[in-house]
Symmetry: C2
């Protein structure tokens, strides 16, 4: 999916909500465990109930890998279901991969070509040749970890490197890589005051923002400092939406929570 299409969906739906499909068999409603594929059944119900409120879905691969072959199969079915039924949705494989060039190419092929995601999250530690193989895919997007929402982000990401914090060096350096127009960045919402700094370096790039809700980030703060002229934000909520209830009406409960966020986003978009 190209960026213009994503921007147009944001304006149409008045939403820049991304829903994280982090499916944990210990947390989903018990009645689904009787299904042949409980993970996919859960995802399908969530997608059916919320697709008009969100512009993106983001399965985190860890939750699928933790279920082995069945998990990988459910991931395949989920992306296939999204691509067939909701081609207007932007899909993100939250995989945080990254390896030497020929190996990154394998990951890029797996997520962007074979599985058919629109984008994949990538860790920057190994530098240029570990990221460029992802960027080479035309019409696809690479979402580079810049400043994450967890406590451990203070260990290395905000350390000063030659006059700049590591995460700023990551942002700055990545702009010189081949096909950098296909870059987006992960920026944690728990760092509201960092967004202003980040926008000085990447004024137009889309930022994937986890950490609103369960992790404590504020939507209005993020929008105040993080929004670009084309919105430029995908704000993710996972647990706050998909585990809103674990009863038979879990999908309705998820839709209610997604709707609350969408309404806040609509207010913010209308006020611009």
């Amino acid at each position: 999916m190209n960026i213009d299409h994503l921007i147009s969906e944001i304006h149409k739906k008045k939403s820049f909500l991304c829903i994280g499909l982090d499916v944990d068999l210990n947390k989903i409603p018990k009645h689904l465990l009787a299904e042949e594929d409980p993970i996919f059944a859960f995802n399908k119900a969530i997608i059916d109930a919320t697709h008009h409120l969100a512009v993106a879905y983001k399965p985190n691969t860890a939750f699928y890998e933790a279920c082995g072959l069945k998990g990988w199969n459910a991931l395949e079915k989920t992306i296939q279901y999204l691509n067939e039924n909701h081609p207007e949705i932007f899909t993100i494989a939250d995989a945080k991969r990254g390896d030497i060039g020929n190996t990154s190419r394998m990951y890029a092929k797996a997520f962007l070509e074979d599985l058919g995601f629109d984008s994949v999250t990538v860790a920057p530690y190994m530098g240029k040749d570990s990221v460029e193989p992802f960027l080479a895919f035309e019409g696809k997007h690479t979402i580079l970890l810049a400043l994450t929402s967890n406590a451990g982000s203070s260990d290395f990401q905000v350390k000063m490197t030659e006059g700049n914090e590591v995460y700023k060096t990551v942002l700055e350096t990545s702009k010189s890589w081949a096909n950098s127009k296909n870059l987006m960045y992960v920026v944690g919402a728990t760092k509201g005051d960092y967004f202003e700094e980040i926008r000085k370096i990447v004024p137009d790039s889309f930022l994937l923002v986890p950490g609103v809700g369960a992790q404590g980030g504020s939507l209005s703060e993020v929008c105040k400092y993080g929004m670009s002229k084309d919105v430029g934000l995908l704000v993710n909520s996972s647990r706050g939406i998909i585990y809103a209830a674990n009863t038979r009406d879990f999908a309705d409960a998820a839709a209610t929570e997604a709707h609350k966020l969408q309404q806040q986003m609509e207010t913010i978009l209308d006020a611009r």
Copy 2:
């Protein structure tokens, strides 16, 4: 597997060789493609021919994910085959994972518990709470990326942070994490002269050293500066061994290459 067991295997086999099982269907002998599971058939033949020469095997997950469900299945069969037939072998899932705490726990469970690897490689960018869930597994090991062997390592890893290069800050900081005794580190062999510096920070830790062979690193250089009192090195070769030939006698050719490296290692160990 505990470290003492690994050290004893190194002395018994006079080898600290790790063989990288980076299986690419475009590179394996054509006759294997007729097998029901070409990837596993290839791995099994390589393992059968080389297990007396190596102390560790390291499948890189990218190559398996690039084959989807079949790839994941082949990975499961490979680790199962190793665990059942060669429990003396140290197994490494080269996955380079890392995510926020509850998500890293999923990855740790997938690789260390469900698949049953002895260790997994992890990226440090997200810091302490992204790594500690891996370290929590008793008798298992977490191999943290410190200084990698690729060109992109110069982008961030060797940048100066508050008086220290990023990779040194990673080494230093990681020593304070819970269960840091379960840490090992990835250090690329193309940086022979860095090993001396690294040993000042982690004198006893095991280092997983890729980049010997295809990537141009020198074994004698690595050993001169990187060896600890308990050897403390696992030197990996992937392409140089497993793709030594792509004819019907590919496994013999792999064994010949592995034997050459083992002989060099034996000479180095005997000279200590």
